[in-house]
């Protein structure tokens, strides 16, 4: 029953990494893993659905503009040690948001982290493979523009 991270900074960096993986994992896998955990938690913010405005930029460099609203589900849990587990996903799957919050909590505790970490590693690899496949597909359609020598020498 203890904390894995001694500093806020270390927790922040590790958490950014695992949350970026967890939000991409299919919902049923997350929920299945979360169901196997036995953590006593209080729901500080029960899963709730809301709207978030997304911003876009032309070519990723132009002026930001309002792209439209997307639905967002969030959930915040607290365990008996005072850790906070956050789950935020696009969409309205409350069970998925709660599962992410629960896994976020589990990863902060020494005794439950190993099991989740091993699954996380498998998921991370899966995501990397997906990314590599997508990269490849994009590369195939790549067009190289080049300019021939023009005009009179």
């Amino acid at each position: 029953m203890s904390t894995r991270f001694s500093s806020e900074e270390a927790l922040r960096n590790a958490r950014l990494d695992w949350l970026s993986v967890l939000v991409r994992v299919p919902a049923q896998d997350l929920i299945a893993l979360a169901d196997t955990l036995s953590l006593s938690v209080t729901e500080l913010k029960a899963p709730e659905v809301g709207l978030m405005m997304t911003e876009g930029r032309i070519h990723a460099t132009g002026q930001p503009f309002r792209l439209g609203e997307v639905s967002l589900t969030r959930c915040v849990l607290q365990d008996d040690l005072g850790h906070l587990g956050y789950g935020q996903i696009l969409g309205r799957n409350k069970a998925q948001a709660r599962a992410i919050a629960l896994l976020d909590l589990a990863l902060q505790r020494t005794e439950s982290a190993d099991e989740v970490e091993s699954r996380l590693a498998a998921w991370r690899q899966e995501m990397d493979e997906l990314d590599a496949m997508e990269d490849e597909a994009i590369q195939e359609s790549r067009v190289n523009f080049f300019t021939l020598v023009r005009g009179e020498a």
Binding site: T3, L44, K45, A46, E48, H83
Partner: protein
């Protein structure tokens, strides 16, 4: 580690809609105590104050709350995402103790808006103490001038009465006790009974 955070109320949207309705009623029917839905509140805030805080504050506004301790501040920031202001001048909302001797000085520093944008003024939430004052109140939302015992000391009642002179500039005030809220908008004229 983290301070003692309390859980958000169940059915938050319903609670906040009812509280917003109460806040709206309080300002449109001044000087009348309006009941607010009862919810669990953190130490340092009454249930009614906490319901109003959850309803009125969000990440687009700032609050000045000199009386809040670390735990209360942590709860407010966690549940609302509000910007914490260290000076009254820059705050959209101020939470002040009605009985405190420093309150009058702070009121001179809260935003009263500008003639172009009187709506940009602050809203002040007064935490009601034990002092009361007999007054005569009149203005929009009151059918006729009525005698009211208001939950504030005489100096504060006089100060709020002075707002008639600066109208449309000024701040709107809520007086919050355990389970009710009472509104004194800037348009309400308060006369302290001299007897």
């Amino acid at each position: 580690m983290s301070h003692a955070l309390i859980a958000a109320p169940a059915q938050p949207a319903h609670i906040m809609q009812k509280t917003f309705r109460a806040a709206l009623t309080a300002l449109s029917e001044p000087a009348r105590a309006v009941p607010v839905p009862e919810i669990d509140s953190p130490a340092g805030a009454s249930p009614a104050l906490w319901a109003l805080v959850l309803t009125l504050l969000d990440q687009d506004v700032s609050v000045y709350w000199p009386g809040a301790d670390e735990t209360l501040k942590a709860n407010v920031l966690f549940h609302t995402g509000v910007k914490w202001s260290d000076t009254p001048e820059t705050a959209d909302f101020a939470v002040l103790a009605a009985d405190s001797s420093q309150t009058l000085a702070l009121l001179d520093r809260v935003s009263v808006g500008s003639h172009e944008r009187p709506d940009m003024s602050a809203t002040v939430l007064f935490v009601v103490g034990s002092e009361t004052t007999d007054t005569l109140v009149e203005g929009p939302g009151l059918k006729s001038a009525t005698e009211q015992r208001l939950p504030m000391n005489e100096a504060l009642a006089y100060r709020l009465g002075q707002q008639a002179k600066t109208y449309p500039l000024g701040f709107d005030a809520y007086f919050v006790d355990q389970h009710t809220v009472l509104g004194i908008p800037r348009s309400t004229r308060i006369m302290v009974r001299a007897d």
